[in-house]
């Protein structure tokens, strides 16, 4: 069987981004394999460990994505295909380009992140399925293969559902699907020798980004005076944390 993880490289959620002339400036950001895609990589490796066959990484993005692709290979995937294009492409256009490569690979299972951290979009997985004409299961928390079909559990807003789906199919990940491993040093060394097939593409984005900005979260800066009546101040603090901040 063949298992594919579609991955992307995104800024680390902890790195501080700068805006330069209405554009996010990534020059000082740490770029990582999208954590939602990490579940996908882990899952294809596990599926391969269990069912044999091949685990393949497919990525679409600029040259710099290669680092994330190497990380996925260092985790244990067999080889990779990197569709190279600089600049922004909307998810639907990406899905169309990816679908072409995926069709040629003819995998049984395609996994990708339930959400793309950088665009805050959940479109990529379903759009790939649509472009391929394959079924999709979103927000997958458990996946098992049996007789050419898959049994998958997926999250709903206030619950969960177990579904059976015929293969090939696309699955998007949800936290809890697995606990992704991180590369071992031997894995990193082996990944250097694994194949990354680069295919330059030139798709035209259907959406153009005109301007980007970062939401500034200002602090309330509320200070409670506890010098006169510490009891009252403490009760007020608890009330604020409970009712306004909603953290307790």
């Amino acid at each position: 069987m063949k298992f594919v993880a579609v991955i992307r490289q995104v800024p680390d959620s902890e790195s501080r981004l700068k805006i330069d002339a209405g554009r996010v400036d990534l020059s000082s950001a740490t770029l990582i394999l999208d954590q939602m895609d990490e579940y996908a990589v882990e899952e294809v490796i596990r599926l391969q460990e269990k069912h044999g066959g091949e685990s393949v990484i497919v990525a679409l993005g600029p040259e710099r994505f290669e680092e994330a692709v190497r990380t996925a290979l260092a985790m244990g995937a067999d080889r990779a295909i990197h569709l190279v294009q600089e600049g922004y492409l909307d998810p639907i256009t990406q899905a169309e380009a990816l679908a072409e490569a995926l069709r040629a690979e003819a995998p049984d299972v395609v996994l990708t992140g339930g959400q793309q951290a950088d665009w805050d979009s959940q479109a990529l997985g379903p759009a790939i399925a649509e472009a391929l004409g394959w079924p999709v299961v979103t927000w997958t928390t458990a996946l098992e293969l049996e007789d050419g079909q898959a049994r998958a559990k997926h999250d709903l807003d206030e619950g969960a559902e177990v579904v059976r789906v015929s293969l090939p199919a696309v699955f998007t990940t949800q936290q809890g699907l697995n606990e992704p491993r991180y590369p071992t040093l031997p894995g990193i060394m082996k990944a250097k020798k694994k194949e990354i097939r680069k295919i330059p593409i030139s798709a035209a984005s259907k959406v153009e980004v005109l301007e980007q900005s970062i939401q500034e979260r200002s602090r309330l800066g509320k200070v409670l005076d506890g010098t006169k009546d510490p009891h009252a101040a403490a009760s007020e603090l608890i009330r604020l944390l409970h009712e306004e901040a909603k953290v307790i």
Binding site: R16, E67, A74, P183, I188
Partner: protein, 579 residues
């Protein structure tokens, strides 16, 4: 200064010739960067969850953590592939040491195992010894310890009292003695023990934990690195099979000292990692803590500290990776004992420099880090408190900083005497030059200032060598003065060459700040020993040469430090250059 282009690549050669380029962290390839990431993830996922318990006495947690490190491949970096390792570069083992350093005690467990514990076997073991032990050490199934120090002698390691006597049947050596301060003693399986055969021939032995007669003292109650195990190792009629003699009988010092050389540059790298951690904690705190209605990061005196911390880290980092780059180059295609001589002994001077520099940068950073935290820095609730305690050991082990300071000029002089480095020629030529000084403005002021410091140290050491000849070893203060100037030269030159590649900015500012202070320190130190080295007119001529060689224009250091501090605050820590 001298035309022979190869000199700059020799250990100590930089004193006579400026290198064209140096290795820097910006040269790390994808593999190194990926390994840095994996090491960080190891710290977050494996170490952090047990950090508190480890710190509070559950030292046995080191063992599963080491196994996990073994699974990730972190214990096999310097072990040959045929013995279950990965045989990777020193750059890689160094970045890993740097990344693990904020773990404090655990990084000592790791370092004692991978450096002083495992390397004696890697470099000096027979194929049988390697096959027997290295796969276990590379996987973490076994943990290693290194037993050199004794209760009565630490710095003077060759004064060891532990004895080894060959048994009558010639099959065993019987070891008796006590080893002190042995890292990993609580759980190690394999001990490299140094003892004197018949009280004379200093030799290393491989001793397994369950050998009868081997016992251990209680855990030492330490100031810091509490997560590490440190115990006395007691040997009472311990029978060690003759096959377990490591290396050549009577040549134990070669093992002891070369393994320490590796330990030293890694300690330096670890210290720089710890210092970056302290700076990150301090910069974040300074932005959050409000006093007199403003974040304390706003105050000049806080900015002064942040700028000094970053500058010294930049110095230590640049010097460390420059050296590691030289070592990796020298080790290309070599292994075993040959590798030791070509790559590790060759750069023993630099290893000592990095050890002293790194450990003192770290102590400065944790000290000012606590100060920036005010009262909270004195509380165990804040990580800077542990960083402060964990730092202090670094000036003591792997050769105290005093011993390393003495080694730096000592080794240089020895190489000069052996004709390996043409220092005497250079000093003689310098004599003439100093008498006929040129007052031309140099094209490149900062490079010229570094060259001047080189001349200064050649001049003072030359005078000292002439005056004291073989008794120079008794003039420790003069040797340490030379060491301090040499450390500053190596650091400042590494910073400057790296800054030029980085295109200036904050890196140029840090270099300027460091160099300014280095010139001041050198002048004061040199003038402080000069009257011991020369008299009358000669002394006065030399004194004006010292002043000339350390001359610098007034510089607005306030502005410089404020600019550097801004970058530290933006980065919330050390402004790590981007490749």
């Amino acid at each position: 200064m001298i035309a022979d282009r190869k000199l700059a690549k020799k250990g100590g050669g930089w004193l006579l010739e400026r290198p064209e380029g140096i290795f820097t962290p910006e040269d790390f390839d994808d593999t190194v960067r990926e390994i840095i990431k994996t090491t960080r993830t190891f710290v977050e996922r494996e170490y952090q969850p047990v950090a508190e318990r480890l710190e509070h006495g559950e030292l046995e947690l080191n063992v599963p953590l080491m196994r996990k490190a073994g699974e990730q491949g972190l214990l096999g970096i310097e072990v040959p592939e045929e013995y279950g390792g990965l045989d990777l570069s020193k750059t890689i083992s160094t970045v890993v040491a740097e990344e693990l350093s904020p773990t404090g005690g655990f990084s000592v467990t790791y370092g004692a195992h991978t450096s002083i514990g495992t390397l004696p076997l890697v470099y000096f073991g027979t194929p049988e010894q390697k096959a027997k032990y290295l796969p276990k050490l590379a996987s973490g199934e076994w943990i290693a310890a290194y037993c050199l120090t004794e209760p009565g002698n630490g710095s003077d390691a060759l004064a060891a009292k532990t004895k080894a006597v060959l048994s009558e049947d010639g099959k065993h050596y019987v070891l008796n003695g006590t080893k002190m301060w042995i890292s990993n003693a609580g759980f190690a399986h394999l001990f490299t023990v140094f003892a004197k055969i018949d009280g004379e021939k200093f030799t290393a032995f491989l001793v397994e934990r369950d050998t009868p007669g081997l016992s251990f003292g209680a855990e030492e109650k330490k100031m810091g690195i509490k997560a590490s195990s440190t115990r006395m190792v007691i040997l009472e009629d311990v029978k060690v099979p003759v096959e377990n003699v490591l290396g050549t009988i009577g040549k134990g010092h070669q093992i002891a000292f070369n393994v320490l050389n590796v330990g030293r540059y890694k300690l330096g790298a670890g210290a720089i990692g710890g210092a970056k951690h302290a700076l990150a904690l301090s910069a974040k705190y300074a932005k959050e803590r409000v006093a007199f209605g403003k974040p304390i990061a706003h105050f000049g005196l806080i900015q002064h500290k942040l700028a000094e911390m970053a500058t010294r880290i930049y110095a230590g980092e640049s010097a460390t990776y420059r050296t590691v780059g030289l070592i990796d180059e020298a080790l290309q295609g070599k292994s075993g004992t040959e590798a030791v001589l070509a790559g590790i002994e060759e750069y023993a001077i630099e290893a000592s420099i990095i050890k002293v520099l790194g450990s003192e940068v770290l102590d400065y950073c944790v000290d000012e880090g606590v100060q920036i935290h005010g009262g909270y820095g004195y509380s165990a609730e804040y990580p800077i408190e542990r960083a402060y305690r964990d730092s202090r050991i670094n000036r003591i082990f792997e050769g105290t900083n005093e011993i390393n300071r003495l080694l730096i000029p000592g080794m240089l002089l020895r190489r000069a005497m052996k004709g390996e480095l043409p220092l005497v020629d250079a000093a003689t030529r310098l004599q003439k030059e100093l008498l006929e000084p040129s007052f031309d403005q140099p094209d490149d002021l900062e490079l010229a200032q570094i060259d001047n410091l080189k001349k200064l140290v050649l001049m003072t050491s030359g005078l000292a060598a002439l005056k004291y000849t073989t008794k120079i070893e008794e003039e420790q203060e003069i040797l340490a003065t030379a060491a301090d100037i040499l450390i500053d030269i190596y650091a400042a030159e590494s910073m400057l060459l790296r800054s030029r590649r980085l295109g200036g900015g904050v890196y140029a500012d840090m270099t300027t700040l460091y160099l300014y202070q280095a010139l001041d320190r050198a002048q004061s130190a040199a003038l402080g020993v000069l009257p011991r080295l020369a008299e009358g007119d000669e002394m006065r001529v030399m004194a004006s040469a010292v002043r000339r060689l350390t001359k610098h224009e007034p510089t607005d250091l306030v502005d410089l430090r404020r600019r550097i501090a801004q970058k530290v605050l933006e980065a919330e820590g050390y402004p790590q250059p981007r490749a």
